[in-house]
């Protein structure tokens, strides 16, 4: 029992600093993905033939490729051009990939907003752009919350993949400590528990947000 607590303590000591990295990577990636996703969704639906096709191509192609591959490609491309830390490159790559999935989420959400909303907005003299920004998007974002909560957990789990480019998040630290203590199960098992806790927290938090901002149609 004592042995167990001791090894657990060692593992925790080394893993906990990784929590901050994992969470930061996740949040930055989600933010980037949100921006890309909403823009792409709007372009896809309201952008006309060319822009719509560009947005559709981005979404289809990026979602056909494993996230690891995207991380590799973007990491090496970014490194060739600018001197960015693996942390930022990884977060950006993750965000770039998430953007494609989020664009699908928001596309579906925008299409669920009743068409009468846009019509009424135009009827009081709003330009298409204003109508999208003030009337359609605010409703679409709220409708998207359940699917977005799912994406949140997916990005959180995919954040482990940036370990391949050397970011010191939970997984890399777990691997390091497991090679030190020769107790891989304790190391990776604890890491797993962290992710489980994060996922549950995020899901609960987002369901509270969803309930608060739910639109009664």
């Amino acid at each position: 029992m004592e042995e167990l607590s001791r090894s657990l303590f060692t593992v925790l000591q080394y893993l906990v600093p990784g929590l901050g990295v994992t969470v930061s990577v996740t949040l930055i990636a989600l933010g980037i993905g949100f921006t890309i996703g909403t823009v792409m969704a709007v372009l896809r639906i309201y952008g006309g033939r060319i822009l719509g096709a560009v947005a559709a191509t981005y979404s289809i192609l990026v979602r056909a490729v494993p996230v690891v591959v995207i991380i590799f490609i973007l990491f090496f491309v970014i490194s060739a051009v600018v001197d960015l830390s693996p942390f930022l490159s990884g977060a950006f790559a993750l965000g770039f990939a998430s953007g494609a999935y989020q664009s699908e989420i928001f596309r579906g959400a925008i299409m669920s907003v009743p068409p009468g909303q846009m019509i009424a907005a135009r009827a009081i003299g709003m330009s298409r752009f204003k109508a999208i920004r003030c009337i359609v998007l605010p409703q679409a974002v709220r409708l998207a919350i359940p699917a977005w909560a799912n994406e949140f957990t997916l990005v959180l789990k995919d954040s482990t993949l940036v370990y391949v480019i050397g970011v010191p998040e939970i997984m890399r630290r777990a691997q390091w400590i497991s090679s030190r203590t020769l107790e891989p199960f304790m190391a990776f098992g604890t890491a797993a528990v962290f992710y489980l806790v994060f996922t549950m927290l995020a899901t609960r938090l987002l369901s509270i947000v969803e309930r608060r901002y739910r639109i009664i149609m």
């Binding site: 009424a120 907005a121 009827a123 009081i124 003299g125 709003m126 003030c134 009337i135 409703q139 009664i216």
Partner: protein, 245 residues
């Protein structure tokens, strides 16, 4: 002779693909006039209203709003729509905004009004339609009649020159139509120019200055309520009246 009309429609035509829905409609609306358009469903009445505020582009004919030809190429359609108020059959209230905000959003985002000024004016409009005490509620919490009244306030908030009503009570349960019609009657008394598509014959008889009967994309007959109901000139009008009374 100077044209003081609020709205002048000349030989309007509208086709959707191969189907011609409006086949040459001409109409002039004078200030403070209340015109009710009646006719069988699907004869282009709603389409007519949508053409007037340019939500749908007419395929032929011309429309003047006050002294501006709004069908002329290069017209700023968004600006035109500020001067025309529209009330929809399905209300189309902005679901994510309170009743008050539904009225203020046009003022702040389109007219560029300052927030407190907009709020003050919106409260006034809500008062006008009898919805002041529900200002903080969301559309999902309102009954149909209440939603429609907020819809009217939203349109009024833009200070339009003319109000278009597209079957405003058709989606309402019978007990709720009264409150909406009462508001519309009040507006008429206050001198608002109104163009109403409706099946409410009581309202047409009591409140309108002129009734227009549309069928098959044409205006078949128009006249004062007394002329229309008591001495219709056309056979088709007579047929229509016999079906609905």
């Amino acid at each position: 002779m100077p044209d003081e009309s609020i709205l002048r429609i000349e030989n309007l035509r509208k086709s959707f693909g191969q189907t011609e829905v409006i086949k040459g409609v001409s109409l002039t609306v004078q200030p403070k006039e209340v015109i009710v358009i009646v006719g069988p469903s699907g004869t282009g009445k709603s389409t007519l209203l949508q053409c007037i505020n340019l939500l749908t582009r007419p395929t032929g004919g011309r429309i003047w709003l006050e002294d501006q030809e709004i069908t002329a190429p290069g017209t700023d359609e968004d600006k035109v729509r500020r001067r025309i108020g529209m009330v929809f059959q399905e209300f189309n209230l902005f679901n994510h905004l309170t009743a008050l905000d539904n009225v203020t959003v046009g003022m702040t985002k389109v007219l560029g009004m300052k927030p407190d000024e907009a709020r003050r004016k919106s409260s006034f409009e809500l008062e006008r339609v009898g919805m002041s005490e529900h200002a903080g509620k969301y559309p999902g919490q309102l009954s149909g009649g209440q939603k429609q009244r907020v819809g009217i306030a939203r349109a009024l908030g833009m200070d339009p020159s003319i109000m278009l009503f597209d079957e405003p009570t058709s989606a309402l349960d019978p007990e709720l139509t009264g409150e909406v019609l009462a508001v519309m009657q009040k507006l008429a008394r206050e001198g608002m120019t109104m163009l109403v598509v409706s099946h409410e014959m009581g309202f047409a008889r009591e409140v309108s200055n002129r009734i227009v009967f549309m069928e098959g994309g044409f205006i078949v007959e128009e006249g004062s309520p007394r002329e229309f109901f008591n001495a219709p000139k056309s056979e088709r009008t007579r047929q229509f009246l016999s079906m609905i009374t």
